[in-house]
């Protein structure tokens, strides 16, 4: 049976310098794709040649203050081989776009719309790149690090409005703790002190 590490190596053999050395963490294999504009070809190869027939999720990360600012993460799964592989790629804030993989997996349609809606990363060639959770006309991308937790006031007449939420000294956060649940439960605290 071919393992995910071997699949990652096959990916590297095919694309060479574009694919990083496979990284393993807790049994999960991740490879980095150096050029985001090649993501469709890499995914096409992973599906047709390696048998990754199922795209579990596409997620995005905001490394605010760093360059490139955004990471896009593809969680691939092969049902026939029972293996999973993670692809990562980077997108800069100025460029802010990468090609769609909807031509490879149709399920990427909604995943990419969610990534666009929450993080503002654009997917070129997407058949219908509109907001999926927020409404058309909402001006912000709420999961970006520079977007405040309490939100911003907006209004799209006859569609929806938003206001800022009262924080009351928050944010209310949990802490990792081996103490009882009373100690762990969300309280008004500064995440830096962990108290």
């Amino acid at each position: 049976m071919t393992t995910a590490a071997e699949f990652a190596q096959q990916l590297k053999d095919e694309f060479g310098e574009l694919i990083s050395k496979p990284m393993e963490f807790r049994g999960e294999i991740t490879v980095n794709v150096a050029d985001a504009s090649c993501i469709t070809e890499v995914c096409e190869f992973a599906k047709t040649e390696l048998g990754f027939d199922y795209l579990i999720d596409i997620s995005t990360l905001d490394h605010y203050g760093e360059d490139p600012r955004f990471s896009v993460v593809y969680e691939l799964s092969s049902i026939s081989h029972r293996q999973q592989l993670r692809l990562k790629t980077q997108v800069t804030e100025e460029h802010g776009e990468l090609p769609t993989v909807t031509s490879v997996w149709r399920t990427a349609d909604w995943h990419e719309r969610e990534a666009y809606d929450m993080m503002g990363v654009k997917f070129t060639g997407h058949p219908n790149l509109t907001r999926i959770l927020m409404w058309e006309g909402y001006p912000h991308f709420p999961l970006r690090k520079d977007f405040p937790l309490e939100g911003k006031p907006t209004e799209v007449p006859d569609v929806a409005f938003t206001q800022t939420a009262p924080m009351d000294g928050g944010p209310f956060v949990t802490v990792a703790s081996s103490e009882n649940t009373t100690h762990r439960e969300p309280r008004r605290r500064n995440p830096e002190d962990g108290k």
């Binding site: 959770l133 927020m134 709420p142 929806a160 409005f161 938003t162 206001q163 939420a165 928050g170």
Partner: protein, 171 residues
Amino acid sequence: MTQKTEIGYNSKVEGEVIHTTVDAAVNWFRKNSMWPMPMGLACCGIELMAAGCSRFDISRFGSEVMRFSPRQSDVMIVAGTVTYKMATAVKRIYDQMVEPKWVIAMGACASSGGMYRSYAVLQGVDQILPVDVYIAGCPPRPEAVLEGLMKLQSKVAKEPWAKQHFKPTAQ
């Protein structure tokens, strides 16, 4: 009439006539047949369903007729998290309800946004609707829903209906 009733009405003595005030009669009609509009938006909706089932039996208070049409309902029970995306729809459904109408905000989310101090959640449905009764809990138990309904009934019982609708004529 052998059985003694609470109001002490005896048809043998008093005949076929009952004396009361318009307010008392109208409010009595209203408060004992409040048809809810179940605005179930989250987990509170499940507790609302439990309140309507046989164990808790909301029909003991005349509210078993859950109407999914706002045109036929008297009290909107907002049960759950009202997101900003849903807020316009909730307001529109409230506007479609016929007067007189009341609103119960069921649970922490509908009352104040609850644990969702967030860009996506309306911080209490009272920002768009006139709420009559707030029910605490996350989610409230069905008993709490019934308690809230009884609170609303006692509020309706005190409404000066006649004063609102008829002006005293100047002599």
